[in-house]
């Protein structure tokens, strides 16, 4: 019971694992290309949560009194992930629009031109 009530790093990491599984399930199960893209965003957010959890609770405790920015590289990584996710969403949605123009569908099962 104490384990449940006292929030530690494990709680955040388990939540991140569950969120990632949810996103992966969405990518695999759904046929709507927009929902697939949204599920990818869920997975990226799960990774961000892992970065921040390890940033707050490091596995090897750094000695006190060092540079504060040495403790915040996880936050910097999350910043880059957010920027890459924004770029990915822009390009992904542009591809969805371009495919919708030519095939009038966003069902990913119908995008099989490269299938032998």
């Amino acid at each position: 019971m104490d384990e449940l009530l006292h929030i530690g790093p494990q709680h955040y990491l388990i939540l991140a694992a569950m969120l990632f599984a949810l996103g992966a399930a969405g990518v695999v199960l759904r046929r709507n290309a927009l929902i697939v893209l949204m599920s990818i965003e869920l997975m990226l957010n799960a990774v961000n949560l892992t970065f921040l959890a390890f940033s707050r609770f490091p596995l090897a405790p750094p000695p006190p009194g060092g540079r504060i920015e040495d403790l915040l590289h996880g936050h910097a990584a999350v910043f880059f992930v957010i920027a890459v996710a924004a770029a990915e969403a822009a390009v992904g949605l542009a591809i969805v629009i371009a495919v919708f123009r030519s095939r009038v569908s966003i069902n990913v099962d119908e995008f099989d031109s490269l299938k032998l």
Partner: protein, 171 residues
């Protein structure tokens, strides 16, 4: 104690809204659930003492990226029959719950040995030095990862040009 209550509140919100994203048939419902999920996740980030990232999460994800998604959903204007047939949501919900439970249990089993000693909480230890604040994260970005930061601006530029080229059709 407040952290416990808030954590479980936000965690249930994140997973509940995330499940809506995966299970809802209508993409606009999924997009709005995703916005809710991002807001709850921003709350989790505040609990992790990542104040700047929490604000960025709300502004960039819940703001800019989701506006893009909603805009494209409205632009495509899919008819009801183009969304595919409704499947049994009870079974899908049970499946998602089973996946979440299995992943949670296995992650917990995997994590039992990771943090064996006493846990260092940097958010408490370094709170006086602004852990997770704008100044400290800005120093980490501009002093230690300046090159990746500048490359990110290039990436965003390429993404803008690429999105226009792909979506425009004829130039």
């Amino acid at each position: 104690m407040a952290e416990t209550i808030l954590f479980y509140l936000f965690a249930v919100g994140v997973l509940g809204a995330g499940a809506q994203v995966v299970l809802r048939r209508n993409p606009i419902h999924g997009a709005l659930a995703l916005v809710a999920s991002f807001f709850f996740l921003a709350g989790i980030y505040v609990l992790l003492s990542a104040h700047l990232i929490a604000i960025l999460q709300v502004m960039v994800y819940a703001g800019a990226v989701m506006v893009l998604f909603v805009f494209v959903i409205m632009l495509l204007n899919l008819k009801d029959e183009e969304l595919g047939q409704t499947r049994i949501t009870l079974w899908k919900g049970a499946g998602v719950l089973a996946i979440l439970g299995a992943v949670g249990v296995s992650a917990r089993a995997a994590l039992t040995t990771v943090y064996s000693g006493p846990v260092t909480d940097l958010a408490v230890r370094e709170a006086s030095r602004g852990f997770g604040g704008v100044k400290a994260v800005g120093r980490a970005l501009y002093l230690d990862s300046l090159l990746p930061f500048e490359v990110t601006s290039l990436l965003l530029l390429v993404a803008i040009v690429g999105a226009v080229v792909v979506a425009k059709g004829k130039i």
